[in-house]
């Protein structure tokens, strides 16, 4: 960073959405390096109270910014060239520590980028750092991290949601306009809701998982966080599409997401499934979501409030069979033999492996490995894993049916606003229930998105949009339209609004 520090003007640009930052860069109002310096200054300054990052990438960010400036000068810049981005520390970054917030991967530096990061590098993005998460993405509050405690920028005594809490918090706090998260059961949408920003979980198979440290392979997707629909569209545009290194990516063409914005929501058929308004949902959340649905209706959408998705209640148990089962295999490779944490002071090879795993993994991770191992065991497979897969098929069919005559479903993203740090850490089931509205979408594989739709007790509430497979364009178009009718997405957390500028 330059010794003088970025000017207030540069911080003002940093507060803009990414697409406007890109316009200023192209116009030559400032350089990518100046923008990167501002972003780095702000994320560093904020992090003492926010705890959003595990690793900062200052040196690399500035080098990327210089390259971006060269591209901007040569007229070879894309919409993300020079834009500061936060990357969830579950995504492999070549040569940069990638920990999954686990002691198990302390000191681990991947030798290749994950596909998504490689694509953003190619697009000229600037990575400011690796953001905090629940260990191996297992959690809904980012409290299960071996390295940092992330706070909600709207109330530092509260959680940012999770597992992509760091990515959500840094975007909400204005450190970066965009970040990447992963969503296995709500890990993008729920923290987006709790932090008052937008977050999108793409259709399963829309975005490559290659190089993303695996938790539950059949459920998770990488997706964008942003402060408006256009930014989210930009980032999704850059990362979506077939990847020869990921056999589960689909050969479905990626449309130009922003091109569809002009169509608006006139005549859009919107379904509201009752089953998502679960027991125990906070009144303020319910009210904000109802109000948002009314906004859609007032602006020409055709709202059907009588949509049934009866199998949705089974999503939670199905999720907690399938995800831990896959995790129990995905995490088997961490044995201390090849990389990461390794315990050596044991009598035998087997004991070393046991000690490595016993000491390297946190409690929540161990809990899920044990649940998954049990569910897959001989004699239990049919009763648990196989049955869960059958119910999964039913849930998928329910979504297909509900979306056969609706373009979009609207639901709450989470049943509560951000809860207090430590409030649910001793009660795993209470924590799991916070993902009740988001889990079913991962089970079905459809795309889902959370959009800020109001406040309850001074804390942000999220509206969840669910679409047909590979119709992210519809979600983004609806989110963009909603953002023109309301200004919830423009509200910034007061405590941190001017942070960085004065730092």
């Amino acid at each position: 960073m330059s010794s003088s520090g970025p000017s207030a003007d540069v911080f003002a640009v940093l507060d803009l959405p990414a697409h406007e930052q890109a316009a200023r860069l192209r116009a030559g109002d400032l350089t990518a390096r100046q923008l990167a310096e501002a972003a780095l200054a702000r994320v560093h300054a904020q992090d003492a109270s926010l705890g959003a990052y595990i690793t900062f990438m200052d040196e690399e960010a500035l080098a990327q910014a210089d390259e971006a400036d060269a591209r901007l000068r040569s007229g070879n810049a894309g919409p993300l060239t020079g834009i500061p981005i936060g990357v969830k520390d579950l995504l492999s970054t070549k040569g940069t520590l990638t920990t999954a917030a686990s002691r198990m991967l302390e000191g681990f530096r991947p030798i290749i980028d994950c596909t998504v990061v490689a694509r953003l590098r190619e697009a000229g993005a600037v990575f400011v750092g690796k953001t905090n998460l629940d260990e191996f993405a297992m959690g809904s509050s980012t409290e299960h991290s071996a390295f940092a405690q992330t706070h909600n920028p709207w109330d530092l005594a509260r959680v940012p949601g999770g597992s992509s809490g760091g990515s959500a918090a840094t975007v909400a706090a204005g450190g970066v306009p965009l970040s990447l998260g992963t969503d296995t059961g709500g890990s993008i949408r729920q923290p987006a809701a709790l932090c008052g920003i937008l977050g999108l979980k793409p259709t399963y198979g829309r975005v490559s998982r290659f190089g993303v440290i695996a938790f539950a392979s059949s459920l998770e997707q990488v997706g964008p966080f942003g402060r408006d629909a256009e930014d989210v569209a930009l980032l999704l545009q850059a990362i979506a599409g077939l990847d020869p290194n990921d056999a589960t990516t689909a050969p479905v063409p990626v449309p130009d997401y922003r091109e569809e914005f002009a169509r608006g929501i006139e005549g859009l058929r919107v379904g509201v499934p009752r089953d998502f308004f679960v027991e125990g949902m906070e009144d303020g959340v319910r009210q904000a979501v109802e109000d948002a649905i009314a906004v859609f209706e007032r602006n020409g959408a055709v709202v059907d409030r009588d949509v049934a998705l009866p199998t949705v209640s089974a999503a939670l148990p199905v999720y907690y069979i399938i995800a831990p089962s896959e995790a129990s295999a995905n995490l088997a490779r961490y044995d201390g033999v090849k990389y990461g944490f390794s315990y050596h002071d044991a009598a035998s090879m087997w004991e070393e492996m046991e000690q490595t795993r016993g000491r390297g993994f946190g409690d929540e991770v161990k809990r899920r490995i044990m649940i998954g191992t049990y569910a897959l065991s001989a004699g239990y497979y049919d009763a648990y894993y196989l049955k869960a897969q059958k119910v999964r098929t039913l849930i998928r069919r329910d979504f297909d049916a509900a979306l056969s005559n609706h373009d979009l479903l609207l639901t709450p993203t989470a049943p509560t606003v951000a809860f207090r740090l430590g409030a649910k850490t001793d009660d795993p089931l209470a924590m799991y229930l916070n993902d009740l509205c988001t889990l079913p979408v991962n089970i079905a594989g459809n795309p889902g998105m959370s959009v800020p739709c109001g406040f309850s007790e001074g804390l942000p509430v999220g509206l969840q949009l669910i679409g047909r497979p590979f119709e992210e364009a519809t979600l983004l178009r609806a989110a963009h339209a909603y953002g023109t009718f309301t200004d919830w997405h423009l509200r910034r957390p007061p405590a941190l609004a001017s942070d960085g500028a004065g730092a």
């Binding site: 681990f108 994950c114 993303v212 056999a247 589960t248 129990s328 295999a329 490779r333 044995d335 090849k338």
Partner: protein, 496 residues
């Protein structure tokens, strides 16, 4: 236990054969699959090292090789197949699980026709599935005698095809015949080197015995660690002997895994049924289901080469060979190809069974002998000799240009030098002496110089003529036709 008559037991054996496929790249990544004689840990990448976040991509060639094998062995190829994760912890397993196939293998059923002492026997197959090989642990000892292990990841992810027979094998000899036939077929298909010593062909045996006439299977003992066909046969024999002893002494055979010890030729217990792994199989979520369309199967069916049995039968019918000649010439695909090429060249106007058989005799006789001298199983293509040489040799003999004796000499020269037989004959003046006058002159000289055999001949000793023929042949350095030499000699002697 008192039994009036000793129970006679029937041997029941099923084999599980692991075959490394010789594809260019590994099963799920782009690394070269050939690791033999390669510096350890040089054919590796993040995928086969099991680094976090890495994903498998199916090597379609390995799938094709497996289906090709299935088609050759008469298996059904289901349209839907899939990969599963087989979970077990071991340091040579880079991901902590092996990607294999559990309940929907690529090939189902089928079988292999074998023959032992002229008795044919059909061994049915259960299935053929595809999986990935593990890394290799090399056990070492340090200066203090403390054991440690080194890990070579080159083998990790090499495509491995598992062929599982049904328990249709009734003797060690049948097991040997099954393995030989299987290896021959795999080599014909060119899908694997199928070399047990190099580890590209591995075999475990499930051995049990039961009272003859019984339909139920006895407790199954899985025998591992055999590294040659001979070892497999000895392991089965020893295991059958052990189980028979256990039963006849009133004991019970327990289901377990046993290891074969080559030095003693016996098996020792490794793992009981209770200690068996629970592999916790579940469908591999990183790979989409594997669909093989009927069109793909048809395409592979077309790629199937003529298989050993069919080729043997055709050789008998088309070239007039005996079953044993045909078997020898179809032992390997390369041998059969070389033979057919030579026949085609020796018979430019269509197959002449006489010439085809003459070609066969060269292949089986002198050519095989020369190749054997070169250190066992040297392929013809690895010697200077070609099919064209052999065809030319046969043509020279059949046309009377050289005698059989000369031909053998020419063959040896061609085998060493790679020169064409016609060129050798020309260069060295080896063409047959056909000049009647010349043979007549030498015959008279020989009669003159050998009064004793001449007298013997006159006394009615037929063997004496053979001696005189031999003398003439020696003078002509074998370039004369022995029959006409005998005629000329007889004419002089009888007249004399």
């Amino acid at each position: 236990m008192t039994t009036a008559v000793a129970t006679e037991y029937e041997v029941v054996v099923g084999l599980e054969v692991h075959v490394q496929l010789k594809t260019q790249s590994k099963m799920f990544c782009g690394c070269a699959a050939d690791y033999f004689d390669v510096e350890p840990n040089t054919r590796v990448c993040p995928v086969c090292l099991g680094m976090p976040g890495m994903l498998p991509v199916i090597n379609r060639a390995a799938v094709e090789y497996t289906v090709l094998t299935g088609l050759a062995l008469g298996c059904a190829i289901p349209q839907h197949s899939k990969f599963d994760r087989k979970n077990y912890p071991y340091p040579d397993l880079m991901k902590g699980y092996q990607i294999s196939q559990y309940d929907q293998p690529l090939c189902v059923g089928g079988g292999l026709e074998i023959e032992v002492d002229g008795v044919p026997h059909y061994v049915r197959l259960e299935r053929i599935h595809l999986e990935e090989d593990t890394a290799r642990l090399l056990h070492r000892e340090d200066a203090h005698g403390e054991g440690y292990s080194l890990l070579d990841v080159n083998r990790s992810g090499v495509p491995l095809m598992e062929i599982v027979s049904r328990p249709d094998i009734r003797s060690a000899a049948q097991a040997g015949a099954f393995l030989r036939k299987l290896r021959q077929t795999l080599r014909y298909l060119e899908v694997s080197d199928a070399d047990m010593e190099k580890g590209s062909f591995r075999c475990d045996a499930n051995v049990s015995i039961r009272p003859r006439g019984s339909e139920t299977l006895g407790a199954k003992v899985e025998v591992k660690n055999m590294n040659s066909f001979r070892a497999v046969m000895r392991a089965i024999e020893s295991e059958v002997e052990r189980q028979t002893e256990v039963l006849t002494s009133g004991g019970v055979v327990v289901q377990e895994t046993r290891g074969y010890i080559d030095a003693t030729g016996t098996t020792v217990s490794q793992r009981s049924k209770e200690e068996a792994h629970d592999y916790r199989y579940f469908p591999e979520p990183d790979l989409p289901p594997l669909d093989i369309t009927p069109a793909e199967v048809e395409e592979l069916q077309r790629r199937l080469p003529e298989l050993p049995d069919a080729r043997k039968q055709r050789f008998e019918a088309e070239f007039g060979l005996t079953p044993s000649e045909a078997a020898l010439l179809t032992e390997t695909r390369a041998e059969a190809d070389s033979y057919e090429e030579a026949v085609a060249l020796a018979c430019p106007h269509g197959v002449d069974k006489g010439r085809a058989r003459a070609v066969a005799h060269w292949f089986i006789g002198d050519v095989a002998r020369l190749r054997h001298q070169e250190g066992g199983e040297v392929e013809l293509s690895a010697t200077p000799l070609t099919s064209a040489h052999i065809a030319e040799l046969v043509t020279l003999v059949e046309g009377g240009t050289i005698t059989l004796t000369t031909a053998k000499e020419v063959l040896e020269i061609a085998f060493e030098s790679g020169s064409r037989p016609s060129a050798i004959v020309e260069e060295r003046g080896l063409a047959q002496v056909r000049d009647e006058g010349e043979i007549d002159r030498i015959a008279r000289e020989v009669i003159e110089a050998n009064p004793k055999p001449v007298a013997d001949y006159a006394a009615g000793k037929a063997a004496a003529l053979q001696f005189l023929v031999g003398q003439v042949m020696r003078q002509t350095r074998g370039r004369a036709d022995a029959n006409s030499v005998a005629d000329v000699l007889r004419r002089h002697l009888d007249a004399g």
